[in-house]
């Protein structure tokens, strides 16, 4: 089954295209890493799929239907820095926000929602902190709360924007365990990811992006020098060369 299908997805900011013609089909049950250099449009891609950023062309289908018809099956985890962590809400409040999507506009938060939120917090090991104000958490804990909120959404398809940014090693491995568990349960997860090294072990599929779709496929097939160079515009080798030269001539430092 196809969980996500985009056709010719194009996004422009101030009349400048930042993403063009993205065609991709993601099988349900995939754990996908979205990889590319800074400014490649990785966040923009998932935001435009979610309808948070409007697209100027193309279309998106989720489980065979337009996004609007299947909104409740899609979960979104924005970048941690995108929100104000001084906001006067507790860990529990944030986890509860995950249930808002299914509650609709006028539903009330009740026992059922609290149960769902508690379970989700428990899963990421944040239940003991549920009464804490979110500002009094470490970066890793904040990211876990965001994940708990996503779990509380109970969606089939998830988009996560840099969930590993600025978290400690323990949280990183806890998150990846959780993502793999979600995949086992048949969920489809797309993750914007920065680190090329870890991408190989974390994800079963990679989406290589640099304003256009460079390639999409199984991780092993994507990990070729040619494709990665195409994605990073040859910058990888340049960096390698610079690093190599610097290593060979330690005096070079002084010249700079």
């Amino acid at each position: 089954m196809i969980a996500l299908e985009t056709h010719d997805l194009t996004v422009t900011y101030h009349k400048r295209p930042v993403l063009y013609g993205v065609d991709v089909e993601v099988e349900a049950g995939s754990l996908v890493g979205i990889i590319g250099p800074n400014g490649a449009g990785k966040s923009t891609l998932i935001k435009s799929i979610m309808g948070v950023v409007p697209h100027s062309g193309g279309w998106v289908k989720v489980f065979g239907k337009p996004l609007a018809d299947n909104l409740h099956r899609v979960g979104y985890v924005p970048q941690r820095e995108s929100v104000d962590w001084d906001f006067p809400v507790t860990v529990m409040d944030v986890a509860l926000m995950g249930t808002y999507g299914k509650l609709g506009l006028f539903g009330r938060v009740g026992k059922r929602e609290r149960m769902i939120a508690s379970e989700a917090l428990d899963k990421v090991g944040m239940l003991p902190y549920s009464k804490r104000q979110i500002g009094n958490l470490s970066g890793g804990q904040q990211q876990r709360v965001f994940l708990a909120r996503a779990l509380a959404q109970d969606s089939d398809l998830y988009f996560m924007d840099e969930p590993f940014a600025g978290v400690d090693a323990a949280t990183e491995s806890a998150i990846i365990e959780l993502l793999k568990e979600m995949r086992e349960c048949g969920k489809t997860v797309l993750v914007v990811h920065h680190d090329l090294q870890t991408a190989r072990e974390y994800f079963d599929h990679l989406l290589l992006l640099n304003m256009r779709l460079v390639a999409y496929g199984k991780t092993d097939e994507m990990y070729t020098t040619e494709l990665l160079q195409k994605t990073y515009g040859g910058r990888l080798t340049i960096l390698d060369e610079v690093a190599e030269r610097a290593a060979k001539t330690p005096e070079a430092k002084h010249e700079i």
């Binding site: 979610m50 899609v74 906001f87 006067p88 809400v89 006028f106």
Partner: protein
């Protein structure tokens, strides 16, 4: 102990009725970092009122509220347009948009209303609670209530009801507009909806406290409560409490010093803010000093 006469208590009531919706909305203005937009709306309401007055010719007509609400929406729209389509940032855009509309309002007062009607510029700026004392009364539940309290009560009740209904939407879209948008809550609708309600509230507060002091009613309660708690629901309750206490204290102030009532309310509110700044249980100066000391002792 100084005694307040009945008229003064009606003024306290009026002051609280306009301060209550301001306090609730102000909490969300602060959380959305849009406090200055409240400033903009309160000033740009003026041309809306004047133009509406030109059509209906009656200063107590509810159409003035509609005109002011439209002007409030216009100024928020202008701010959005300026900062989205030019390199001008939002703070400058606010400075341009509301002063222009306010100036336009001042000119329109002369052109449209002239000297026919009692709409003084200083009244527009600082309001006057004493209207309550001279107002006609209507019987409500056996009490002779000054009639100007009725629309204020309706606006206050309406705001409270809207707040209860849309509490979740407002909270989520203020905290995480991305997730809110992914749930299908349209950020633009939430934004302009809130601005429309603020416009109505600000205008209903106009006669009582004027365009400048209403900004204090919007910001002070929420800011004070913010220093006292980190829980949103409690924060809203505390901001309402602030509105109530500063209305009562302000009236005592103004009777004691024989000063202007609306200014007394704001000065009292500022006093409460300073208290919270010093002794606020969440972020006060004292509690922070104690926490620092404890931390140092722990380290030793």
């Amino acid at each position: 102990m100084m005694e307040l006469d009945q008229d003064s208590w009606w003024m306290v009531g009026m002051s609280f009725l306009v301060a209550l919706p301001c306090a609730l909305l102000g909490v969300f203005l602060i959380l959305r970092r849009m406090s200055l937009v409240g400033d903009a709306i309160s000033h740009s309401a003026l041309p809306g009122i004047v133009v509406a007055f030109a059509f209906v010719g009656d200063l107590s007509s509810p159409w003035l509220l509609v005109g002011a609400a439209l002007a409030g929406l216009l100024v928020t729209f202008l701010i959005e347009q300026i900062h989205r389509h030019t390199r001008i940032k939002q703070d400058s855009a606010i400075g341009i948009a509301f002063t222009s509309l306010f100036a336009l309002g001042l000119i329109l007062i002369r052109v449209i209303i002239g000297d026919k009607v009692h709409l003084h510029q200083d009244m527009v700026l600082e309001g006057n609670l004493q209207h309550v004392a001279y107002a006609e009364t209507v019987g409500v539940m056996g009490l002779d209530v000054p009639d100007s309290l009725i629309p204020a009560a309706v606006v206050a009740a309406g705001t409270v009801i809207l707040m209860i209904i849309f509490y979740r939407v407002l909270t989520l879209s203020s905290f995480d507009s991305g997730l809110a948008a992914s749930f299908g809550y349209k950020p633009a609708v939430v934004h302009y909806g809130m601005m429309a309600v603020i416009s109505v509230v600000v205008v209903s507060a106009f006669e009582a406290v004027g365009a400048i002091l209403v900004i204090a009613l919007l910001i002070l309660p929420g800011a004070t409560a913010y220093l006292c708690t980190h829980r949103l629901k409690l924060l809203l309750v505390l901001s309402v409490l602030h509105a109530l206490v500063s209305s009562v204290m302000g009236m005592y102030f103004s009777v004691w010093l024989n000063g202007k009532e609306s200014a007394g309310v704001v000065v009292a509110g500022t006093g409460l803010f300073v208290l919270a700044w010093m002794f606020g249980p969440a972020d006060g100066v004292v509690i922070k000093a104690v926490q620092r000391r404890n931390r140092k002792l722990d380290e030793v």
